[in-house]
């Protein structure tokens, strides 16, 4: 993503940074294989969420419904979630 680069006097003193998270970097572009959750087999045990190094897997709650979701904007496709899933409900699919 192209950012407008600031002048030296537009940068905060001491180059501290606080407003912009690394989420401007869409690391999903690094991916070769994509994890896909088979929700019918998912037990919502949360191991994939805990082990995700980005982290880009989260529990989406709507009402009484819980669903584990992967944010593909950031998933680098490391495959840890698929490897560690106790019920093997995540497949690594070629992009």
């Amino acid at each position: 993503m192209k950012r407008e680069l600031p002048r030296w006097d537009e940068m905060e003193q001491g180059f501290v940074t606080r407003t912009l998270t690394e989420m401007v970097n869409k690391t999903g572009t690094w991916r070769t294989f994509k994890p896909v959750i088979n929700h019918s087999r998912c037990t919502k045990c949360r191991w994939c969420i805990i082990y995700c190094p980005e982290p880009c897997i989260h529990m989406e709650v709507s009402g009484s419904d819980e669903k584990i979701m992967i944010d593909y904007d950031f998933c680098k496709g490391c495959g840890i979630c698929a490897e560690e899933c106790p019920v093997k409900c995540i497949d690594m699919v070629e992009e």
Partner: protein, 302 residues
Amino acid sequence: MPFKSIKSLEERQDFFSPGHGLCPGCGAAQIARIVTKVAGKDTIIVTPTGCLEVSTTTYPATSWKVPYLHVAFENAAAAASGIKVAYDALIRKKKISKDANLVVLGGDGGTADIGLQSLSGALERGEHITYICYDNEAYMNTGIQRSGATPYGAWTTTSPAGQKTLKKDLMGIAIAHGVKYAATASIAYVRDAANKVEKAISMGGPSFIHWIQPCTTGWRYDPKLTVKISKLAVKTGLWPLYEYHEGVTKLTVEVPKRVPVSEYLKLQGRFRHIMNKPEELAKIQSYADAFAAKFGLGPVAQ
């Protein structure tokens, strides 16, 4: 409150955001994320120079949603203790009202080698900081050079024929300083690790956690295996999970039946050159056996 379930840990707020530049499958990212989850909002993170630092703070972006300071390579412990001492003074003088946890996340180079002096000073002064060493057993940020924490036999770019000396005993060094609390950790035993982080922070004195961190790039393995390798390090006896508190050392994860070290080594390209050398494998097995004897792990299952 110990984490009784994965759910209770998962439900804690995240303070480490995605988009960082760490490698796919990076163990340091897992550690940073779990530590900040456990430590919570009122925490200040200090890191020495290293992979974690350069990849999570690419100006003007940051992955840290808690206050974060990086100064240099060899002074993270001094920097963290300076903040802590400042907070103590400011609170005593009623200039501020709210305290913060001080947690260092340092690699093995910044901890066992160049940062050891400053760590020793901070531990000896008894300052209330929690120092967590994510140990990937080499200088990964500069391209996999050996450190004082590189294990016997491991290939690195500066030990091309395999490391000839043993890993530095960081836990022994920390404990010898009379720390309040010291523990080893592995991401494969994440509740054990999270509980240790919580305990370490609550100790009211210096605490140290030595956390094994498989590095997909430097250890040469498929990124999906980070957790598996973290588990095998424990199962083989090469990375016993224990804690030290008030003079007592206690195993926190039992290993009734050990796995032969070759199961751990064979997944890692850095040991490939010794996999057909039984005498080298026997040597590494003997180190695991020594840990097993010391910590009361079970025999190797045939």
